[in-house]
Amino acid sequence: MIRKKGADTAVTSSRLHDATGTPHIIECLNLTKSFGETEVLKGISFYIRNNEFLTLLGPSGCGKTTTLRILGGFEEADAGEVSFEGRNLLDLPPYKRQLNTVFQRFALFPFLNVFDNVAFGLNIKKRPAKEIEQLVRKALRTVDLEGYETREIDQLSGGQMQRIAIARAIVNQPKVLLLDEPLGALDLKMRKEMQVELKQMQRDLGITFVYVTHDQEEALTMSDTIIVMKNGYIQQVGTPADIYNEPRNAFVADFIGESNIIPGKMLQDREVEIEGRLLPCVDPRKPEDQVDVVIRPEDIDISEPSEDLICGTVESVVFKGVHYEMLIESDGGFEWMVQSTDKAAAGSRVGLRFGPDDIHIMAKSDFSPDAAGPDSISRAYEAAEGGEGDE
């Protein structure tokens, strides 16, 4: 199921086709951007469907925030095109774009109270006072902060500031809301609550959300579509389920959840060799000497050691609430992570049991779909080391 290399490439490059028929509100083509020597975006193309919740996901320095800032108009792309409802967006200054942004650290105006913060955009547009009052109240109701109009910003908690920041953006009735790691400054509990609320808000408002985060769980919870990025390239585009169940490459597999990534050898169609054992799998693939085999820790069961299983010794056991997390050193010398409700004692010998469809095969270093070649991959790594830091 991973082997749709051709199909995935089509998603990233042939942006005009869309199986669902939903119109694209934003289309980006070959965006590049460098800060000094560092190439942050190396020619990315994607589209955003009308009214979807799209997440740009990746580690820091991957270019996700830069992409969002190009959409918002705060950064200029070196090359490439962005169209918004079919019209060129890049020529417009930020104050003329029909997008609104929720900033990383809220960026509320400290000298204005809650009402005036939310009303800022409407005041600039010189809407009548009555209408402003109505719209502000409605926006505050949407974010569940009615009655906070006269509060000062420094009297609000982090979660409340976040809601005000969202209210300040949505009150302008943008067609697209850009959110730059808006939950990053909140504590875990608040973050979980806000995830659900944001998704609800997006459905109720019926507008497009473009969300930037490095938190894979956040992305999986809220998104209709996830774009996984690394080192200025798009790694994979798909629904949360696609990306979790069928990661295209070892990076995506590792970034989205825990993964065991073991080197293997493709012997023939639907047969792979790991740690000297021949295992059936469901991936039709040509024989290949070096592949990465990805197996999710939760897909592995612990059983009695036996001849036809990969066996190993349990090194550590940690109770995680729902399951036990065990590190197992296999006879082949690899460390496997297993998450299971069954517990094996540390030091005991166990066998690892998994089915053919738990095995995901990916080409080694199959990593940058639109890269020119191995050269550009190593350069991409260097760029990441140099650290542009998009936090």
Binding site: T101, F109, F111, I124, N172
Partner: protein, 297 residues
């Protein structure tokens, strides 16, 4: 606070006591006493009577003319000149502070040189700096010699409003720029982006975000220019040629020329109370939580 740490502040407290508190008490004492012809001390309110009463002089401003007691007249004129000087410093200083802050925010460098150039003159003694202006502006000075090459001048720069205004603005400009700069440089760029995002063009971003946010800096700058400008006697003395009597000169003359310590001290006390009241007004308009805006930010 730690007790032994607190002890470290004793030398400073002693210093304040000897050189600030005691002299202030002495001034108050002088203001209320005088010597009679026998050389013995007696209590008197003559000093304050001289300040608020005495000869009246016509005070003209914007076509209006009022008869006011001499020192009240001087007082009001000092205040007006100081206010004009403060306004000029603000108009000149704000854009400079903004340019420096923008350089610092956008490039994280470059503003250092400007800051250095701004502060450098302050390392030199104010008297020397003011004498330098004399050498530049006097009728046979450098500027007039230069103008003479083109058959112009000599222009009378000194001993008039222009000379005093120039001297004051030159001397006090850094005290306006620095507090404003220290506030502007702390404005998060994301606030400016947020304003643009909400539809504000660059002019509105300036008016609706930058200006309100720099209020503490502006107030602090006004405080630091208005008060010294009001009380200076050096600048009007040198560049005004003694013809311009401001409150600072008036006090100086009472002490040094007339040797009337009683009136001089009474004038000082009145000035002090006025300064304290004005500072109170500025402080009330400043957000008490905002520790920004000070020269030492």
């Amino acid at each position: 606070m730690n007790k032994s740490l607190r002890r470290l502040s004793f030398p400073y407290l002693l210093w304040i006591l000897i050189f600030t508190v005691v002299p202030l008490l002495l001034v108050a004492f002088f203001a209320l006493t005088a010597y009679d012809s026998n050389g013995s001390l007696y209590f008197t309110l003559d000093g304050f009577k001289n300040v608020f009463g005495g000869d009246t002089v016509a005070f003209s401003f914007l076509g209006l003319s009022v008869q006011l007691p001499l020192y009240i007249n001087v007082f009001i004129r000092s205040l007006l000149i100081a206010m004009v000087c403060t306004l000029l410093c603000l108009l000149l200083g704000y854009p400079a502070a903004w340019i420096m802050a923008k350089m610092e925010i956008e490039h994280r460098r470059g503003s250092n040189i400007l800051l250095f150039l701004l502060v450098m003159p302050m390392w030199m003694n104010a008297l020397l700096r003011t004498y330098a202006w004399l050498a530049l502006l006097e009728p046979k000075g450098i500027v007039n010699n230069f103008l003479g090459l083109f058959g112009l001048g000599p222009v009378q720069f000194l001993y008039n409003d222009f000379g005093i205004g120039l001297g004051m603005v030159y001397n006090y400009l850094p005290f306006m720029v620095l507090p404003i700069y220290s506030v502007l440089v702390k404005i998060s760029p994301s606030l400016l982006e947020a304003a643009a995002d909400l539809g504000a063009d660059p002019r509105r971003v300036m008016l609706k975000v930058v200006l309100p946010m720099s209020r503490p800096g502006i107030l602090s700058g006004i405080n630091m220019v208005l008060m010294p400008a009001m009380t200076t006697f050096l600048i009007p003395d040198l560049l005004g040629g003694g013809r311009y009597l401001l409150i600072g000169n008036a006090i100086e003359r009472q002490y040094m020329v007339s040797r009337d310590y009683t009136t001089g001290s009474a004038l000082s006390i009145v000035l002090l109370i006025f300064v304290l009241l004005s500072m109170q007004i500025v402080a009330r308009n400043t957000d008490p939580d905002a520790d920004e805006g000070g020269l030492v930010a």
